[in-house]
């Protein structure tokens, strides 16, 4: 009991330092022209998003917007780190609501078509986190369910398992059946299929 109050007191002390440090990171990210520095900072911020203690600071700094911006970048590292950060952030309810308010779902769905499995995995988990009573129709859109069905059939165990969890826990049996019919009827959506590399 006593320990808990003590330790949280420590954390609160760290919180102001943390905000200052994160503020510095965001500022440098916006000011620098170096791609490499941007990647480093982005990865840094995304890893900070894993720690619940930094959530408040990251929310205040609008880091959700920063990550969402990265999803449309050319640089695949930017996309991977951005969606990784969103995957970490969206575990927190307040951050999840921020992402939903910013209309992040289509951007996240877009990441399902990435060539990189880390990006796709992060996108699936983010979609799970973003699913609420209000957003369910969007996150379990027919096209998304179809792509999850395809993922669940791949040989990549991480991808197929995560897609299976999505189908079992976030979609109704009706949705899955419908998506399966559509898949067999060759009227597929292109969501989740990577474009050929040139």
């Amino acid at each position: 009991m006593f320990n808990r109050w003590c330790s949280t007191g420590m954390n609160r002390f760290c919180a102001s330092d943390r905000l200052e440090y994160l503020q510095g990171l965001v500022t440098e990210f916006q000011d620098t022209d170096s791609e490499e520095a941007k990647e480093q900072i982005l990865a840094n911020l995304a890893n900070f998003a894993y720690d619940p203690r930094s959530m408040e600071a990251l929310r205040m700094l609008q880091v959700t917007e920063l990550f969402l911006d990265m999803l449309t970048e050319e640089n695949e590292n930017f996309v991977e780190f951005g969606i990784g950060g969103l995957c970490n952030l969206s575990m927190d309810r307040e951050c999840r609501d921020q992402i939903l308010q910013s209309g992040g779902i289509p951007l996240v769905t877009g990441c399902l078509s990435s060539h990189r499995d880390e990006t796709v995995l992060s996108a699936i988990t983010t979609l799970m986190n973003l699913t609420t009573a209000a957003s369910r129709s969007q996150t379990t859109d027919s096209a998304v369910v179809q792509s999850m069905l395809r993922f669940s059939l791949t040989q990549n165990p991480r991808l197929s398992n995560l897609a299976t969890v999505f189908l079992q826990d976030y979609c109704t049996q009706d949705q899955v059946d419908k998506a399966r019919e559509l898949l067999q009827g060759h009227s597929q959506s292109a969501v989740g299929i990577p474009l050929p590399k040139d």
Binding site: N11, M91, E118
Partner: protein, 367 residues
């Protein structure tokens, strides 16, 4: 930098990209440099796993030692050599399955890139060995952890201004109003009503009581006499409480009030050298009765102030011839010795039993 090309969603690599050791980044400015050199990489819950892949173990039959090393960080459910995994010459690759993700995290953190019997270990997560059920549980655990952490920080920030409030009061508004509240709370609560029930708020330690109880046993004594109700000790337990005995209250009633009682009691004890036999500790009823009996005798006999009503036990010895030592102090001492001798010889059985049960509270005589 983060990923080598050629690891597509659609093929099935044996050696996954996340197994490869990425080059540490050395181009970071000072303020972003961590304590250890690290690659530019983002960890998500997808990448973390209770399965660890341990590469670079020298193939000299040190499996037991390896498992012992890793068991320092938590319970290992399973482990095996991965013969099929491509390994460097003269090294082996092991798979470790921990019971908890946190153990695996600690193990990876502390063993990766550490020397082990002449080899350098490379430890990485191996989430590809997880089953669907493993993944589901991992995600659920992570979510509930985040919710708990979130609630904790919310109540923290709420409690700071209203520190003196009782926890029962402050816990409810803490969830309802926070600085960055924007009305989403109602919606989130209805969508998942059982989120907040998982974290029982414990009451604050009793702050008002603390100073008095932290005093010596004297302070405690006067306090408990005053209230005459069960009072918690410093550890919050009623275990040591004994209600003020009638004899005790008799002793203390003639003192002005308990505030000055402390000092007075201490002074008096200095004069009379009567040890504090009423220290708050549990004494069985029978022992207390005997104790009381003995104490009454002590009190009455002490310093020759004989109480006429005091009951006598055992046969009365013939009065010894009184010797005058020609000094008040010496006389007192002599009579004390005489009384003690008389008591020891007269009631041996009673003394024995009482000394067995209440050795600690037995008053020590200074002769």
């Amino acid at each position: 930098m983060a990923a080598s090309e050629g690891c597509s969603v659609w093929d099935t690599p044996r050696v996954y990209k996340h197994h490869e050791q990425q080059k540490a980044c050395h181009t970071r400015p000072k303020y972003r440099e961590g304590r250890r050199p690290k690659a530019v990489k983002v960890y998500t819950i997808n990448l973390e796993s209770r399965f660890l892949l341990v590469q670079g173990v020298p193939a000299i039959g040190v499996m037991t030692e390896l498992v012992q090393l890793f068991a320092l960080y938590g319970v290992i459910e399973e482990y095996r050599v991965l013969d099929e995994y491509p390994a460097e010459q003269f090294t082996e690759v092991y798979l470790m399955k921990f019971q908890k993700l946190t153990s695996a995290r600690a193990a990876k953190r502390n063993t990766d890139e550490k020397s082990f019997y002449g080899g350098i270990l490379h430890v990485c997560y191996a989430p590809e060995y997880e089953t669907v059920e493993d993944i589901r549980k991992k995600l659920q655990d992570r979510r509930s952890y985040m919710n708990r952490a979130c609630i904790k920080s919310e109540t923290e920030s709420e409690k700071e201004p209203t520190r003196s409030k009782k926890p029962a009061e402050s816990s409810a508004p803490a969830l309802a109003s926070t600085p960055w509240e924007d009305g989403n709370r109602a919606q989130t609560e209805t969508s998942n009503p059982n989120t907040y029930s998982g974290f029982p708020l414990l009451p604050l330690p009793p702050e008002e009581e603390a100073p008095q109880q932290c005093l010596s046993s004297w302070g405690f004594k006067s306090h408990s006499l005053q209230t005459n109700a069960p009072t918690e000790d410093k550890m919050g337990s009623l275990h040591r409480f004994i209600s003020a005995s009638p004899e005790l209250s008799k002793q203390t009633t003639n003192w002005p009030n308990s505030a000055s009682a402390d000092k007075e009691e201490r002074d008096r004890s200095k004069i009379s050298r009567n040890p504090p036999s009423t220290a708050p500790r549990f004494i069985p009823r029978t022992a207390r009765l005997e104790n009381r009996k003995r104490k009454m005798m002590d009190n009455t006999d002490f310093l020759g102030m004989l109480d006429k009503n005091a009951p006598f036990f055992g046969p009365k010895l013939p009065e010894q011839q009184k010797m005058d030592m020609e000094d008040n102090s010496l006389n007192t001492t002599a009579s004390l010795i005489r009384q003690t001798m008389a008591k020891v010889s007269s009631i041996p059985t009673e003394m024995k039993t009482s000394s067995n049960t209440t050795t600690t509270t037995k008053p020590r005589r200074r002769i």
